[in-house]
Symmetry: C2
Subunit: 453 residues, 2 copies
């Protein structure tokens, strides 16, 4: 049996590796455009500041390492079309420009997502970048080395923009951040947005502009960016990084006739099967379901891609009806990021999302200590729980501050177990003074919220 | 209505505070022997080394602060007997020696636990201590100040013994640790015990004796300890701290006729009601149930005491049959401790406990990274999951190393939600490089374990 995987990184390489374990006899080829088959894209912002020092450290595995497992990885190859009837692919070798054909018995599409470059005049100026691939980071670092920019503008106040702002600031630049929405971190409530803003200012990122849509990148007359314009302002910019979003890469699947979901990503079932025969898909290019709202969700994150890749890779190589098929149930859209010393996390639905999904919403937010107050290193943490006002069922959580990553994982697990906030009041979590206050902030917030219902 | 609470600290003061909120008109008195009504006993080991610098910081609230909430707290008072028929108490004022009587409508017993001093010759020598109360810590610190001991022996390798060993070592003493069982941290499997031993040695606690029962504390002829004897050995000791265990303080309840459970602690129902009319109990003196095994459990921990106190205090002041009664469902016997830089946690049942409870047990243990491997500060962490081999239901977890406190809380929450290890394979936990590897160690271990079933 011949398995072809289109796309590497998290989902594609995971699917290939998993298929190899499940079907030792299968012939497996991965085609991908990027030069490295398996890199840690989430580490890219830290590569900019040197916090992750070496490029090699981000490369999880090389083509040679895959070859040892008898997986052929062809980098710098673009799959240009799929014919699901004849099960043929047309592929372009990006180094030579040649095209050739290949066939498959089973196909996994893992074409990922790409950064959206804002449709703004001047976006093509030298010095204006997106940050999605290692090659983008290489370009930014080259620009920094060649031009020694002192003034940086980050466009977009989502988690990538915030991580980039931190790392450019660490590199010694004056950083301004411009966000079109009314607050930073639009996936969060206003309390968390305020905590992030305060923290950025405390760390020296003073120029925060929210509710400001960039109108143009202005050049210096020699094709190089010199400023960013919005409203009445022009801010000097020797380097601009736009972190305004990503979108799924679906043209290959779409042109082959695969159904596209309402999020714009490829529709798959719980087995990661597309609407095309013998074609599975996984990772940032697919649509899944938010398990709290039941609505279609697009959740382009490395851990989710990895889990989906495992399911797709397994199912692609077992015979139909055979035992051992795996299912991917959906996501909670859990995420966490760090900006300077602040951890920020969320899981499930925000208050607004829960209302939109038709729940009658109750919520409680509180600031508390991350450790026993008398213990060295105790810090503050904010936690907000969102629940269904009728049943008390937990719908979501937001956390920010010391230990926010731990609290969000506890809440994500509680959501996974479909707990109510009253179930959570007596949860038996681990306590010792170096690790938390006597009662976990999760329990404290659940107690307040369940008491208010 | 008059509510009397016997005992302060976590459960008693929580019950009183909660009763005040639920029943603003109730008359509430707390009697307790210790001079401080609400102290953080879990912080005591850190007080020995000065890591928690000030005694006041451990005192959560003073009698005056309770008085402001109209709760009378009488410290240095011992309740010597309860007559549940007449609802009368006999109380001794420990400062004056006088006894007097009081009556109650509702009673909450929160008499706590006491340290077991080993029945070993010489246990009464000057310089031999247990560590349970703030007054014990005061005595130890006085001894350290007066005698400047350089050689310390800690008897008992459970979490209190380990925390004390760390803090005496931090104070500059040569510390030996003697444990009668064959391994340190008997509540854990051998893998975690080995990790703890290695860490202690790495930190300079070289004299670890396991499988050695102390036979005698030897004096210097002037009533002061000079050595500890076991087997063929005599180890020099200018101070000895015995952390060999605690037991519930139940004589008051027992003599009043309350049923005692098979763990030796007071039997209560889910509403924390004892077998006596109008008498509730909470905290370290009561028996609860282990929710995984269904067996009676005694779990003397500050967070559990606090949760139980809330339930007992609420139920004690509402009228029978009235809405608003709370329930305490039981525990997972979750715990965590720190020894030097190592975090160690557990929840649910260990492999042995699960076998004893009648499960057919499967388990998987693994060492993995606590963060993305390329991220600064990434450390190793061990995780072991224990499940029912037939259903895959999670039964317990042990963790040790970087981020072990987070992982054990995720596992405790999964146990609370009665998840199986296959449910846990696709859990949507939060990932970003500063906070974990792409897939949480919990998910990695669940994937291995569910794959082995």
């Amino acid at each position: 049996m011949r398995l072809v995987v289109v796309g590497g990184v998290a989902a594609g390489t995971k699917a290939a590796s998993r298929a190899r374990r499940v079907a030792p006899e299968a012939e497996i080829t991965v085609y991908q455009e990027e030069p490295e088959p398996s890199i840690s894209e989430c580490g890219l912002p830290y590569f900019l500041s040197g916090m992750v020092g070496s490029r090699d450290r981000l490369v999880a595995r090389t083509p040679d390492e895959f070859a040892e497992k008898d997986i052929e990885v062809l980098v710098r190859h673009r799959v240009e079309s799929v014919d699901p009837g004849s099960k043929r692919l047309s592929i372009r070798n990006l180094q030579t420009g040649e095209t050739f054909e290949d066939g498959y018995d089973r196909l996994v599409i893992a074409t990922g997502a790409q950064a959206v470059l804002p449709p703004i005049p001047g976006a093509d100026l030298d010095g204006v970048f997106a940050l999605r691939f290692l090659t983008d980071a290489d370009g930014i670092l080259r620009h920094i080395r060649d031009r020694s920019p002192k003034k940086a503008v980050v466009v977009g106040g989502g988690y990538i923009g915030l991580e980039v702002a931190e790392n450019l600031h660490r590199s010694g630049m004056d950083v301004s951040l411009v966000e079109a929405a009314g607050q930073l971190a639009g996936a969060y409530g206003p309390e968390v947005a305020k905590i992030i803003e305060d923290h950025l200012r405390e760390k020296g990122v003073h120029c925060l502009f929210t509710g400001e849509a960039v109108e143009a990148f202005l050049g210096n007359g020699k094709g190089r960016v010199r400023a960013v314009r919005f409203g009445e302002r022009e801010i000097e910019a020797e380097v601009v990084i736009a972190g305004v979003g990503v979108r799924p890469v679906v043209s290959l699947a779409h042109e082959a006739g695969a159904e596209i979901g309402k999020t714009g990503a490829i529709r798959v079932d719980r087995r990661m099967k597309t609407s095309l025969p013998d074609v599975w898909a996984a990772g940032d290019c697919v649509e899944t379901v938010n398990l709290v709202s039941g609505e279609p969700a697009w959740s382009p994150l490395g851990d989710t891609a990895n889990q989906m890749g495992r399911v797709a890779g397994t199912n692609a190589v077992i015979s139909p009806g055979e035992e051992g098929a795996l299912e991917f149930p959906g996501v909670l859209e859990t995420s966490v990021f760090k900006v300077f010393d602040l951890a920020v996390g969320r899981t499930g639905l925000s208050g607004h999302e829960a209302e939109r999904a038709g729940f009658e919403v109750a919520s409680a937010g509180m600031e508390t200590m991350s450790k026993a107050g008398y213990f060295p290193g105790a810090g503050e943490v904010f936690i907000k729980l969102i629940c269904d006002a009728k049943s008390g069922r937990l719908l979501g959580a937001e956390t920010a501050g010391s230990g926010a990553d731990k609290l969000v994982d506890v809440c994500a697990t509680a959501l996974w177990g479909r707990l109510s906030v009253s179930d959570m009041v007596n949860m038996d979590l681990a306590y010792a003074p170096p690790f938390g206050p006597t009662l976990s902030p999760v329990i404290q917030a659940a107690t307040v919220l369940s008491g208010s219902l």
